[in-house]
């Protein structure tokens, strides 16, 4: 794991964070549920909680789908290539490329090689929102690349060690590092 320069993180008085979706995207409940699941992957291991807010402008973290240049100087490049990006705390911006083919449910099956599992990418980008940089550990969520048709949503030990260095462990787990790693949900559909 790695951190952004200076190790930015959400301050200790802010452990209950809110997120909201750009209202212009008019996302369905299914898409929003994917993000709720993605946030829960991180709250499971940390003292952080995440709640969806109806107010995009006051939320701690703002999520939106955009194409090409969209105002932050980091333009998207169409199908595949760059899928998404997010900014270190406390900026809280998570942007995804609206030109991608996003799968919000079952990723398995024979595809064209351009289908991306939304939750996998969301879990990775939330790691950035919380202060993690990229990791060289291929199984880690924070590894920078993901193949199309692949689902990788469970935090690796490397991710957990990194995020717990920033925020500590989930107090609901009696001070232990977190739930057992168990069976990892990693699959490849095509």
């Amino acid at each position: 794991y790695s951190f952004f320069p200076g190790r930015p993180r959400w301050p200790s008085r802010r452990r209950d964070l809110t997120y909201a979706f750009d209202p212009r995207n008019q996302l369905s409940a299914d898409v929003k549920r994917v993000f709720a699941n993605a946030f829960s992957r991180w709250s499971e291991w940390t003292p952080l909680t995440f709640t969806e807010s109806g107010n995009y402008f006051t939320a701690d973290m703002k999520i939106g789908f955009y194409a090409g240049e969209h105002g932050d100087g980091e333009e998207f490049d169409g199908v595949l290539g760059t899928l998404a990006h997010a900014f270190a705390p406390p900026r809280g911006l998570l942007h995804l490329d609206s030109d991608e083919t996003w799968i919000v449910g079952e990723i398995s099956g024979s595809g064209t090689g351009a289908e991306m599992d939304l939750e996998s990418v969301a879990v990775h980008e939330i790691g950035h929102l919380l202060g993690l940089g990229h990791s060289s550990v291929e199984n880690a969520i924070m590894f920078p690349t993901i193949a199309s048709g692949m689902r990788k949503v469970e935090l690796d030990r490397d991710d957990v060690e990194g995020i717990q260095e920033l925020y500590g462990s989930n107090p609901g787990n009696n001070g232990t590092t977190g739930p057992s790693f168990g069976e990892r949900e990693v699959s490849r559909g095509c």
Binding site: L80, T101, V104, E106, A114, G133, H134, P144, I146, C190
Partner: protein
């Protein structure tokens, strides 16, 4: 474009993956230091975007790289190969190009020349002083 599963994608909406942003990099497989090959300038832009090449190196303007496989590109390839656990050859071997072509997060791997992807380690900035705004 949101779909509940792969089979629900209408054929008319299937994207043309050969038009992906980095598909032309396949032509660079086998390139090494000293060569001059069309398309290398675009690869240098890729490496600069992800923090492997300085904003100021070997370019007359922000978007004007040469097609020469120079020392800066070789260093970038070496650092990339280290970060992605590939053989550190400094050449654009098949495995390296394959990794470069994969879809990825837009956040830089090296930020301000001061971060690496390796196990929480922080290394000194490289001599070329990579800088990426994120």
């Amino acid at each position: 474009h949101f779909f509940p599963n792969i089979s629900s994608i209408p054929p008319s909406l299937l994207p043309n993956t050969t038009k992906s942003a980095w598909n032309t990099f396949t032509n660079l497989s086998g390139c090494h230091s000293g060569q001059n090959v069309a398309g290398i300038s675009k690869l240098k832009s890729y490496f600069r975007y992800f923090g492997y090449i300085s904003n100021n190196i070997n370019t007359t303007s922000k978007n004007n790289f040469t097609d020469e496989f120079d020392d800066a590109l070789e260093r970038a390839v070496l650092n990339y190969q280290k970060n992605f656990n590939l053989n550190t050859t400094g050449e654009l071997d098949e495995e390296t190009v394959k990794q470069i072509l994969k879809p990825r997060c837009g956040v830089a791997d090296i930020v301000n020349g001061s971060t690496t992807m390796n196990s929480g380690k922080v290394t000194p900035p490289p001599s070329n002083g990579n800088t990426v705004a994120h």
